[in-house]
Symmetry: C2
Subunit: 355 residues, 2 copies
């Protein structure tokens, strides 16, 4: 039994994996693999429809917003957001809260002027800047809701006079958000929604078609909306597994229920980090992520032995990103609280051994 704390592609529910494996052999009793059926078959169209319906229901996506399953990861959206929303000669505002926010910013520069409204770079992104002004004349304001590498998260979104574009790759479906507060939300699937290979995009329809840019078909949200995420062959398997995962989430009680579980997992783990004299957190407490819990050892000599101790207990994926060091326990939706308790027990036993 492994306890998978990996940062992504991350843990998926066991029953989802079981159903996915079955579909690879014989999909819904068709006698064919899910991998070798037409994406235009009624069988797959039903899968896509269900996946779209589940996103709308679970994430409470209001009328006037389109939902897309695209390819290319959030990194492709770093370019498609300005391609579709930033007019020629316009400017876009960015909040710099980590490497991924910075990568998004870098791609926007290909399309126009950018303004960094605030950054926490000077402290290695250990907090979320809050005291800044959003320029009213920018086309949009881009934020990253959860910073996987640094373990920070926006627990409250900003009031904005302009449309907000949000990269939610590492915390989508982990908590209730008000979609109407956003102009565009995008997320790579591989943390809370499914396997790598599909990207969720939720866009407010009336923001589109206003840039005067000529956008190639595949990069144009409008084309993808008209094609119903099937302008070309979609990533069939990744969409199917996402549909299964969303169904699993629905059966668990939806986003509200999982948010409570996620809060409980985070609280238990941060409580131990703060209590245990061998460890300490790396972010300011008020901005601590409920998805990626980053912490370090007080005594550097304990780092490798603790990782080894965890490894022996089946706790995997705990090594922190090289730019922060230490440990990162990713506690995505599918990670059961029992795994968090196994980690907490390991921390306590390790403390006992190192008295």
């Amino acid at each position: 039994m492994k306890h998978n704390f990996g940062a992504g592609p991350g843990i998926l529910p066991h029953e989802v994996l079981k159903q996915a494996a079955e579909a690879v052999i014989n999909f819904n009793g068709t006698g064919l693999s899910l991998l070798e059926i037409s994406h235009r078959s009624p069988e797959f169209e039903a899968v896509l429809d269900e996946a779209l319906k589940l996103v709308r229901e679970l994430f409470e996506v209001p009328e006037g917003y389109s939902i897309l399953f695209l390819q290319g990861g959030a990194s492709t959206q770093f370019a498609l957001a300005p391609y579709n929303l930033l007019p020629e000669g316009g400017k876009a505002a960015y909040l710099e809260t980590g490497v991924w926010a910075n990568k998004a910013l870098k791609e926007a520069k290909y399309f126009g002027e950018t303004i960094v409204v605030a950054t926490s770079k000077e402290s290695n992104f250990s907090y979320i800047p809050k005291d800044f002004e959003i320029p009213k004349d920018a086309a949009y304001f881009h934020i990253t809701s959860n910073n996987t590498i640094y373990g920070t998260q926006l627990h409250k979104f900003f009031k904005s006079p302009i449309p907000v574009v949000c990269d939610m790759s590492s915390d989508i479906f982990s908590r209730k958000v008000n979609v109407a507060d956003f102009g565009l939300v995008y997320a790579g699937a591989q943390k809370n929604m499914g396997p790598a290979g599909v990207t969720l995009v939720i866009v407010k329809d009336d923001l589109l078609g206003k840039t005067n840019r000529k956008i190639p078909s595949m990069f144009n949200y409008q084309t993808q909306i008209e094609g119903g995420s099937m302008y070309n062959t979609p990533p069939v398997f990744a969409i199917y597994v996402s549909m299964l995962t969303l169904n699993w989430l629905k059966a668990k009680g939806g986003v509200e229920a999982i948010e409570k579980e996620n809060d409980a997992k985070a609280k238990a783990l941060y409580t131990e980090i703060d209590r245990n004299p061998l460890f300490k957190g790396v972010c300011v407490p008020e901005d601590r992520s409920h998805m990626n819990v980053c912490f370090v050892v007080q005594n550097p000599e304990h780092e490798k032995p603790f990782l080894k101790y965890c490894d022996e207990k089946g706790i995997v994926g705990l090594k922190g990103h090289r730019s922060v060091g230490g440990f990162r326990a990713s506690i995505y939706n599918a990670l059961p609280i029992t795994s968090v308790h196994v980690l907490i027990d390991a921390m306590q036993e390790f403390q006992e051994k190192n008295k």
Copy 2:
């Protein structure tokens, strides 16, 4: 037992599907699913390395060419080819042999001037134009090696004074080609290489960096080459299944061996179409595809009953594309010759019944 003649996503080898399903549950004995491991893990890096090595070996890709696994399908490459190869103010030449060639052409128009050197549109693309001149001052000459919808195929490539860009989505790995004759080859995986969700790109390195365009990172072949197909999270599962399929092809004797099988399958089926008075082919014989065999009934009243007869025998995916009608038997690499014989038997039995 189904005989899968679907046009794509198409049939994959049974043993590949079996291994893929196992990996979804427990990948290589790690105790984790392939879907929930890091793409930076040594386990997945080994998969990607092997897949790249197999492409280089089986397709005999020479030095000076880079191999990439990207997302977004061939439709994304329709835009990325001109984005990367067509200089500002330059022009590109296209051979129009069907809907997909036309879609590629349409995307190039976003980036510069285009010239259609020849078209067979007037005959619903029933042949490959051969009498034309390739403009020496164009940046590249774009062709589609196999036209899935119409059942035509380029059996001989053109001598070109400029780099040739080729969409090989529906016949890659089905026959020996000389990669050195091309500047860029791309192919969606979902016919002969793997499941939908990954696209193979083979590009001649010295053609890159010459357009003076500022290309966003994800759309820039150079970035993807430097990132080793991992500039961002790659489509892990689709690459893994492609690796398995390429390994299967290698074990079968590689491209040369499969080409012989494909020729035998095509010959058997076209012979029956020409012999059987109930059916007729739709393309000029010299351009008939060895991947997608398109044919119609002489008497329109036979169309539905024949499809029904086939369905009862487990022959699936035979319905032709709406723009051609009739039947399309896709006989990709993984389709065994026994399935072709089942179809031929069905055609002969159907003839007997309709005497």
